[in-house]
């Protein structure tokens, strides 16, 4: 009994709600990746072990699975906290913003950097609950400044929007190059 208690003392830590869900997820992913080792890596006959392409994936995934198992053990032996699934719900809710980001990235090559940035920023600001005219104006201004800074001034490599093709000649060239 005392041995069990010592083990518990060794692993017990304060955790945040949802830790055990992440611990299980991490262990399952680690073990899955480790199970794919022979499928996904090659072994070159005659080469030294540390020079094998399989060597570092094997070392890292074994280590990852080992630590993931210990982390799970620690989580399981620690005090259970309320709000586990509420926390997981928040993680899932964050996927919405990931989707916003991907949609914005997908829209830029078609709608152009300047229009896509302004529309995306305004829509997202409305989505997160801001309604004041002051904040909407600040958003508009920030979006324009970001485009001017990165595309116009620093000439960062971003695709020109297909929508610019319908613009009249002079304006089209300007928009294609700088916005």
């Amino acid at each position: 009994m005392s041995r069990v208690r010592t083990l518990q003392a060794l692993f017990k830590r304060y955790r945040r709600p949802g830790d055990i869900v992440f611990a299980w997820f991490a262990l399952i992913v680690s073990l899955f990746l480790l199970s794919q080792l022979f499928e996904q890596t090659a072994f070159k006959a005659g080469g030294k072990l540390p020079a094998q392409p399989r060597f570092w994936p094997a070392v890292s995934l074994t280590g990852m699975s080992f630590f993931a198992a210990l982390h799970l053990l620690g989580s399981a032996l620690s005090e259970r906290l309320d709000g586990r699934w509420r926390e997981v719900g928040l993680w899932i809710a964050s996927l919405e913003y990931a989707a916003w980001f991907i949609a914005y990235a997908a829209a830029v090559p078609y709608a152009g950097y300047l229009p896509a940035t302004i529309i995306f920023a305004l829509l997202l600001v409305l989505r997160v609950g801001y309604r004041s005219r002051m904040l909407l104006l600040s958003t508009l201004l920030s979006a324009v400044i970001i485009v001017l800074l990165f595309k116009t001034l620093l000439q960062v490599k971003l695709p020109a929007g297909q929508i610019y093709e319908v613009l009249p000649d002079g304006l089209r060239q300007l928009m294609l190059n700088y916005f």
Binding site: T41, S60, F101, L158
Partner: protein
């Protein structure tokens, strides 16, 4: 001396000076806004700096790195919210001082201690340089392999109370680095037949996801707030005089900052805690700590500002980054084919000294800027947090997409952003993933190039420096185990703290 002049010549260009000015002042502002820190800013700006000259890009990033902690002290002292991760301890004593009407004194002390720490760190770096230039060429593949291994071990052990998670995440980072076409044998590793994985997972995509996007998701999913800081009145130069009364604490703290900065994987947190503990133990009034003790404030700020210069030592001399920010800077070197390491001191010594002088200059620029603009900054930091989240999301797009105009990169970055959010919510560290990726690459390459010279495993440590590093590895593990056993015997379990999540900003 001629090296210093060559460095000065390198800096004497209008574009370098503009980059330094933008980096330093931008860094202070970024540091002062709670919710966005140097990691987010550097991650976003990184791809934009690739098109610039190495010295221009690096001085800008260095400016942000070296100045953000100055700015971070403002909200830490005035509203009890550290602007950057490493100002956490500043709020312990700074905020109580503000509450009793001494906000001006606290800020002034923080600035002077930061300036002292910053200059102390750079002077140490300049004085150590000849020694570095002498020692660095003694580092061959074996030594760099062992130093990178020591870095991985330290980054895991430095996360006390989270070692299993840190170990798992460091290993995950090493694994991420192996994905794609193996450059030596031309075989696919963990690509699952997808062509986009053949070129591997880009470090910048991971960095932007874990630092910038995760912070945006965090701010967007949390309730909206707007930090309210009251302006201060009075001359901010008075702190220098008061600092003179605490020379011992300031010097010891800055020295600890330098030492901890030099060791990969340790950094500002350990330096800050060690110097704070030292200041408390050696104080005549230890009970005042946490209630507004000037020495506590000095210890914290002098230590963390001494770190950036010291962190340049392993980066420049060995090509080994000690923490996430220097890991990001390493990619700027690589993009320009300037490989940090022993050869840098032989082939690009002007760049090395140029960076030293840039660090020195940025401290002067920042202190002058802060002396006149602190009250303006108290207004700037009132940005609503969700609005900040929207801005970070828009800016992250530039960072990810400008790399290679790939929508897949954006999807991957968004995935890492969600992972970063989960880690942040769980108070688990993300830095081990980044260092695992960078150091994992170094481990693999250096072990492979050392292999032809290894007949037995013992050949790995048959040279003086490799043997010393090996002994250090054993010592670090031994000391950790000893502390662990003592803690178990004393039944002490680490309390929860917010150290790791703050590292993500």
């Amino acid at each position: 001396m001629e090296n210093l002049l060559a460095g000065a010549e390198m800096l004497a260009r209008w574009d370098v000076m503009v980059a330094l000015l933008v980096g330093s002042i931008g860094g202070v502002i970024i540091g002062a806004i709670p919710g966005v820190g140097p990691a987010v800013a550097i991650a976003i700006l990184l791809p934009a700096t690739f098109s610039l000259d190495p010295i221009v890009g690096l001085t800008m990033l260095l400016g942000i790195y070296g100045s953000s902690m100055y700015g971070g002290a403002i909200p830490a002292i005035l509203i009890n919210t550290p602007g950057t991760a490493v100002n956490a301890l500043t709020s312990y004593d700074g905020y109580p001082m503000t509450k009793r009407g001494e906000g001006h004194r606290a800020l002034s002390l923080a600035y002077s201690a930061s300036f002292f720490g910053g200059i102390f760190g750079i002077l140490c770096l300049i004085l150590l340089s000849p020694v570095l230039a002498l020692i660095a060429p003694m580092f061959g593949s074996r030594e760099i392999f062992l130093a990178a291994l020591l870095g991985i071990i330290l980054v895991v052990l430095a996360h006390r109370g989270q070692i299993f998670a840190a170990g798992m995440l460091a290993m995950f980072g090493i694994f991420l680095n192996t994905i794609g076409l193996d450059a030596f044998t031309y075989t696919q590793r963990y690509t699952f037949g997808y062509s986009f994985l053949s070129s591997g997972i880009n470090l910048i995509v991971v960095v932007l996801g874990l630092f910038a996007l995760s912070q945006a998701f965090f701010l967007l999913t949390a309730p909206d707030s707007s930090p309210e800081a009251q302006p201060v009145s009075g001359k901010l130069t008075s702190g220098f005089r008061e600092l003179m009364g605490h020379k011992r604490v300031a010097s010891v703290s800055a020295s600890l900052g330098v030492m901890m900065g030099m060791i990969p994987g340790v950094g500002e947190f350990t330096a800050q805690f060690m110097s704070y503990t030292y200041a408390q133990k050696s104080s005549d009034t230890p009970d005042d700590f946490g209630k507004g003790a000037p020495e506590g404030l000095i210890a914290s700020e002098a230590a963390n500002n001494a770190v950036p210069a010291a962190a340049m030592i392993p980066l420049l001399a060995l090509g080994i980054p000690g923490e996430a920010l220097t890991a990001m800077m390493l990619s700027v070197f690589y993009v320009h084919n300037v490989i940090p390491g022993p050869q840098l001191f032989q082939n690009n010594i002007d760049l090395v000294y140029g960076l030293y002088l840039a660090l020195l200059l940025l401290n002067v620029i920042v202190i002058l800027f802060l002396l006149v603009s602190t009250n303006l900054l108290t207004k700037i930091i009132r940005v609503p947090t969700r609005f900040l989240g929207v801005l970070i999301l828009i800016l992250s797009f530039v960072g990810v997409y400008s790399l290679r105009n790939s929508l897949t990169d954006c999807m991957l970055a968004a995935g890492f952003g969600v992972l970063g959010l989960i880690l942040k919510r769980l108070n688990l560290p993300v830095v081990p993933i980044i260092l695992g990726m960078v150091l994992g690459g170094i481990l693999e390459v250096k072990l492979r190039s050392a292999l032809p010279r290894l007949k037995t495993p013992m050949d790995m440590i048959d040279r003086p420096i490799s043997f010393i590093i090996f002994v250090m590895i054993l010592l670090v593990i031994g000391l950790h185990l000893r502390t662990l056993i003592r803690e178990i015997k004393a039944h002490q379990i680490d309390d929860d703290h917010d150290l790791h999540d703050t590292q993500m900003r």
